[in-house]
Symmetry: C2
Subunit: 310 residues, 2 copies
């Protein structure tokens, strides 16, 4: 038996099954928790599946994240030893994430809060014109998502820099790397965009110390994972004015609890983890492709380095 | 005498004088209305100057618009016969206009009004993901501003088409032209962006007939001139739902009168003619350059075709 386990929200699982079967009607698909005999499962495509459950499948060889992020697979105890892990890399996921970032950047840059307040008061008043070429954006994380957002922002004439764990090169974009590069990167960043993978190293990376390293009045955009942010530290920076505002798509606890101050903070714009949503039809072909590679013993695509967790 | 007349808002005139003198201290600059002997004036750089006033200067040879738009120079009686007319073409003006258009497009495309309402109610709810590659944007006007906006929208994977008076070609952008091309262009346009020059031909081009030619629920962005829009027709289309919303920077009467319905319409986002503002420091060099061309009898740059008014 060569069965594929699919696990995510029930309604979404049905869509995944349809899209995968449309491409390969011979697939043996099992929707969690109705996986059948545990020996059957050789591959799994999952989102927010309990990691320990995967240890029940003795023949599991391939674990496919249902998104670009794979941190959900690395929560303790992490993926079972010897199981290959791959992510989705999708033009539509990347496009949607860059749209989210551009909207948040432009809204802040073009003083939209000020203009909305003026309209509400029916006041005709021109605010000082922003200086795009003097506005410094810093993108944390230069994977597929971060690199695309950085390039699109640079194409709009912003001064864009990027920071990543290991040194990277991108045309037209100043890059910083590692622990030594972080504070210099923050010191030149007016608008901080977090698109990092979530790992033990990046958990809580947006905290009192790093927020204090930004220029006074900097803006923060987080579309990566809620756990990148120490939320109380960000609230304190928003209250003091060290951070002038934030656009947040992700939170420590999701759904964001109704009593959380982010909901009502005047300088916080939030969305319900909706910046970039996997569309099964768009990514089903790469799942099929990786299953074929597994079956035929060819190298897998979009492999995650299990030793670093991204 | 070879004097340059400068005419705009008083505070702005002072900035213009400083920036021009910084580049050429020998310039003889006169700020309207203190122009000195009318015979002295050979060139003028103006914004919203009364056109008939320019007939008082017998030696006027060159009229420089203080922006990309030149319609303010063509209000009756229009520029004096035999006077050359040039516009400003400025990277910063173009950049700022494209930012405005991108912000308006992305805000609508990413269902921002819906997400703002959800945040206000502290409701965590994902709205249906928009399909960028299926979203058809139509840019009216393919001059410097329209072409730049169209290219930047196409780079974000929208389906972009353009319409202009005379046929134009742009890589990756479907183009329509002339009266015959207008209705087919509108029929395939989900988001209409107006960046046309204002001429007798384009005055009132956004009206009941053309709005009805858009797909039901289309979105309208006007950052060109207020007179492109028949405002009552746009309000009727907004009220009926034929047009789902509009972002407007320009109006028939500016400042927009306090009692105008645009201020309070739930589906109108407006700004006070602030999409793209000329920064004297950025454009002073091209004014100096055209004055030198005039003096030396060389061809002028960025010449306006007086016969068509743009």
């Amino acid at each position: 038996m060569n069965a594929l386990l699919v696990s995510t929200k029930p309604a979404t699982m049905q869509v995944w099954r349809e899209e995968l079967l449309a491409l390969d009607p011979a697939l043996d698909i099992r929707l969690h928790p109705e996986s059948g005999p545990v020996e059957d499962i050789t591959a799994a495509v999952t989102w927010n599946h309990p990691p320990e459950d995967l240890y029940r499948y003795p023949n599991l060889k391939l674990l496919i994240s249902m998104g670009a992020g794979v941190d959900h697979l690395f929560r303790p105890p992490g993926p079972p030893p010897g199981v290959a892990v791959v992510r989705l890399v999708d033009r539509l996921l990347t496009t949607a994430m860059s749209e989210y970032v551009l909207l948040a950047v432009l809204r802040h840059h073009r003083q939209d809060a000020g203009y909305r307040a003026l309209q509400a008061r029916r006041e005709w008043e021109e605010l000082p014109a922003p200086d795009t070429e003097a506005t410094r954006i810093g993108v944390m994380g230069l994977g597929n998502l971060g690199a695309d957002a950085a390039r699109k922002l640079a194409a709009l004439n912003f001064q864009v820099a990027g920071w990543s764990r290991t040194p990277k090169q991108l045309d037209g974009i100043e890059t910083f790397a590692g622990a030594d590069g972080l504070m210099p990167f923050l010191a030149r960043t007016d608008i901080l965009v977090c698109l990092l993978p979530l790992t033990p190293e990046t958990e809580g990376i947006i905290n009192a110390r790093t927020l204090a390293g930004l220029p006074h009045g900097a803006y923060v955009i987080n579309a990566a994972r809620g756990a990148h942010v120490v939320e109380e530290d960000l609230l304190a920076a928003l209250d003091s004015g060290q951070v002038s505002g934030a656009t947040l798509d992700v939170f420590r606890t999701e759904p964001l609890p109704r009593e959380h101050r982010f909901w009502t903070h005047p300088n916080v714009i939030l969305t319900p983890h909706a910046a970039s949503i996997t569309i099964p039809r768009s990514v089903a072909p790469q799942v099929i492709d990786n299953l074929a590679r597994l079956r035929e013993g060819r190298p897998l695509a979009n492999v995650v380095d299990v030793s670093v967790g991204y």
